[in-house]
């Protein structure tokens, strides 16, 4: 395998220059970085500096805000970890954390189940399969603002189509977004609806990579469809599955528009997730420090979850 380090000894095809000797590749006296290393650092530097400006600088500013009691304009007084303590002792934070957990679990596994089911279905030779694929991608492709508006139109008021149909079917007057439990269910279902195409794509790609002869061999050995699915399909697509779980977990925990556009976190905080709570703290309650503290705590949780799942992927690779 050709690497950057071993390329130093190869003749330069473009210039025809002889390979550089170790002496010429290092700085005088052999101390410090080689000229090649310096060149590479300098080449990487622009991208690195941009990355630092775009990511690291806001992160540092946000970290500073989380330990001050200021606003978006003024820094305020240093309050150490008071904002974190206030947040962690607030019932509203734990209520939001609980809903975030429910939303994420339903969002990840709901969309995965639906997506995988449809991906398996689309492998069968059904007429108009291409058209179905396109139609099934629509929830992912359509802007979330449009989807949320459409869902609000469907379920928002007593005269909306779904409550009207439910009433005619004898379910009584259902207020999908006004009842806390129904609102939480509606938001979770909406998330599954928006996300399943992504899972379907990921699973379809993974399924396409599975060698068909494996199934033929299993069939000859007498494995049933269920056994083939459990013992062949799931293990062979597990790497892709774990990656999609990691990504969807991050999507769900960080998902602001799905919830905010449909319910705004209500009624009475029933659908308030951590990211919605952080937003409302900063931009509605105008409490920058606590809001940013929530965002940092969320990041910490996401890092833990992602690392755990990533380790799972490595285990799969090793196996």
């Amino acid at each position: 395998m050709r690497t950057l380090t071993d390329s130093g000894g190869a003749p330069s095809a473009r210039t025809g220059r002889p390979p550089a000797t170790p002496r010429s590749a290092t700085s005088a006296g052999g101390r410090g970085l080689s000229r090649r290393a310096i060149t590479m650092i300098l080449l990487v530097a622009p991208a690195l500096i941009l990355l630092l400006l775009i990511n690291a600088y806001p992160l540092v500013v946000a970290a500073s805000q989380s330990v001050h009691n200021g606003t978006l304009i003024v820094t305020g007084e240093f309050v150490a970890l008071t904002n974190y303590a206030d947040v962690l002792t607030s019932p509203r934070f734990w209520s939001a954390a609980r809903f975030t957990l429910i939303f994420t679990v339903v969002g990840v596994f709901g969309s995965w189940l639906v997506g995988m089911g449809l991906a398996l279905l689309l492998r069968t030779r059904i007429p108009g399969r291409g058209l179905f694929k396109v139609l099934l991608m629509l929830p992912w492709v359509v802007p979330i603002v449009v989807s949320a508006t459409a869902w609000n139109w469907l379920v928002g008021t007593a005269t909306s189509p779904v409550p009207t149909a439910a009433a005619k079917l004898g379910f009584g007057e259902l207020t999908f977004l006004a009842d806390p439990t129904l609102a939480a269910i509606t938001v979770c279902v909406f998330k599954v609806w928006v996300s399943f195409p992504f899972m379907m794509l990921m699973t379809s790609a993974a399924l396409a990579a599975v060698d068909a002869t494996v199934y033929e061999a299993a069939g000859i050995d007498g494995a049933s469809r269920r056994q083939q699915f459990v013992h062949i399909t799931l293990p062979l697509i597990s790497r892709s599955t774990y990656i999609s779980w990691i990504l969807m977990t991050i999507f769900c925990v960080n998902d602001f528009p799905t919830i905010y556009l449909l319910t705004g976190g209500g009624p009475v905080d029933a659908t308030s997730s951590l990211v919605v709570l952080a937003y409302r703290s900063v931009f509605q309650d105008l409490q920058t420090g606590p809001g940013v503290a929530i965002a940092f705590l969320m990041t910490l949780v996401l890092v833990i979850i992602s690392t755990t799942l990533y380790r799972q992927i490595r285990k799969v690779d090793i196996a």
Partner: protein, 441 residues
């Protein structure tokens, strides 16, 4: 080693270019951050930046742009530029612009924005400007009391230009159909609501869904109507009062009687407008522009007189929208000159109806073009004289009101009341704690 290939660039040259590319924006950024002078001060190149919100139909902003670009500045001052700032995320927009010294010199904005930014040292107080208004007689043209709503201990934070009242509206056709009379007291409101309920219509249309502050406004309006409010005379949260408990008990009764729509807790502004348009709303508190928003039934919609509460008080809620000047300006004189010009032109918005709220100037309120709309006249004549701000019972507004209006504690409180399950005193106690946590910061 460093020979350039024909038409190419040497490695050293490339690195130099890359360094320059990085250095240029960095140096530019340093220049911006180090420059608090004229270039970015409320308008590049000496021009004066005016930021405006979408206060009415799209025609409003088109008209606004014409007014601003038609401004002839005094000698030595730059022209004014016009920029529309959307309500969505306006706080971020203003805050980030002010923090980076690229904000406006003059702007309209949310009702308590001037108080909020004044608290952070970003507002140029309008005391001198108000003095000039007194001298030229414009001060006397303002409706009684409205200028005083801008007063703080440090001075006037802004100048009013329109009021956003929260009057009761009713649909006459629906009331007639239900055989109900237009209510003048809470008892009559309850009776009318029960009559409307029989024909499947809400007698207290409200909503507290995503991004809809209506529910919060309506709860506070009922408290103020009954002689209560969120604050005491010193501006400290004072929610658990007899007047407020009585008002919220009445709201709970309306909810439990089915007069308030069961789904109201989640209604967005659009949902609520749809309810009015679909003849599902018979009576309710709304903005002055309801007849235009619910155009399908606009001709049947009328403004009620303020209700007489059980406490014997007659009062309402309003927001005094204002024009504020910022410390980051080409010059204070330029800001004041522009503001004076703009105030002299705002009548245009009512001469060419563009979905505006209620004027603050008597000359506009008494003009023929304004008198064409009896609902707006009723708001000016019947409501404004008895209206109070969110600060009630304190007479002066203050910075924390920006967080109270639209903040989580009040929104959650409104939703709790609209569910009709919680004891009003318990809900008000929770609200008190929520407001204390916001106001103390």
């Amino acid at each position: 080693m460093n020979k350039a290939t024909p038409g190419g660039v040497t490695r050293r040259g490339f690195l130099g270019l890359a360094g320059a590319a990085i250095a240029a924006p960095a140096l530019a950024a340093c220049n911006v951050s180090g420059n608090s002078g004229a270039n970015n001060s409320g308008g590049g190149g000496g021009s004066l930046k005016f930021w405006d919100m979408p206060w009415g139909t799209p025609a409003y902003n088109e008209l606004g742009k014409k007014l601003v670009t038609g401004y002839t500045p005094p000698e030595g001052s730059g022209k004014a530029t016009y920029q529309v700032i959307q309500w969505n995320g306006f706080y971020q927009t203003f805050s980030s612009a002010i923090a980076s010294k690229t904000g406006p010199a003059v702007s309209s904005g949310a009702g308590f924005q001037a108080f909020q930014f004044a608290d952070q040292g970003q507002i140029a107080y309008a005391d001198d400007f108000i003095e000039t208004l007194k001298k030229d007689g414009t001060y006397d043209d303002f409706l009684p009391g409205v200028i005083d709503t801008m007063k703080t201990d440090k001075g006037y934070v802004a100048v009013p230009w329109q009021t956003d009242v929260r009057p009761f509206w009713y649909n006459k056709a629906l009331l007639d159909q239900a055989g109900a009379k237009v209510p003048t007291t809470w008892d009559e409101l309850l009776a009318a609501g029960l009559a409307l309920k029989k024909i499947g219509v809400s007698g207290f249309a409200t909503g507290s869904g995503a991004d809809n502050p209506g529910g919060s406004h309506h709860m506070v309006a009922m408290m103020i109507n009954n002689g209560g409010g969120l604050f005491d005379a010193d501006g400290k949260p004072d929610c658990v009062t007899e007047a407020n408990i009585q008002a919220m008990s009445f709201v709970r009764e309306l909810t439990n009687e089915g007069i308030i729509d069961k789904g109201a807790v989640s209604y967005t502004i659009d949902n609520l407008d749809t309810q009015w348009n679909n003849k599902k709303a018979g009576i309710g508190i709304h903005s002055p522009g309801l007849a235009a928003r619910a155009s399908k039934v606009g001709k049947d919609l009328h403004v009620m007189s303020p209700l007489k509460s059980p406490s014997g008080t007659v009062a309402g809620l309003y927001f005094v929208n204002n024009l504020m000047m910022y410390t980051n300006t080409p010059s204070q004189e330029a800001s004041e000159a522009f503001l004076k010009y703009y105030l002299s032109q705002i009548h245009t918005y009512w001469e060419n109806p563009v979905g505006m709220a209620v004027p603050v100037l008597k000359s506009i309120a008494s003009a023929d073009y304004f008198a064409k709309d009896p609902n707006q006249v009723a708001i000016v004549e019947k409501w404004i004289p008895v209206c109070k701000t969110y600060a009630a019972q304190k007479t002066q507004s203050f910075a924390a009101l920006a967080a109270v209006d639209g903040g989580q504690p009040l929104a959650k409180f409104a939703q709790t009341m609209l569910q009709g399950k919680t004891d009003p005193k318990a809900a008000l106690t929770t609200l008190q704690q929520g407001l204390e946590s916001i106001v103390k910061r």
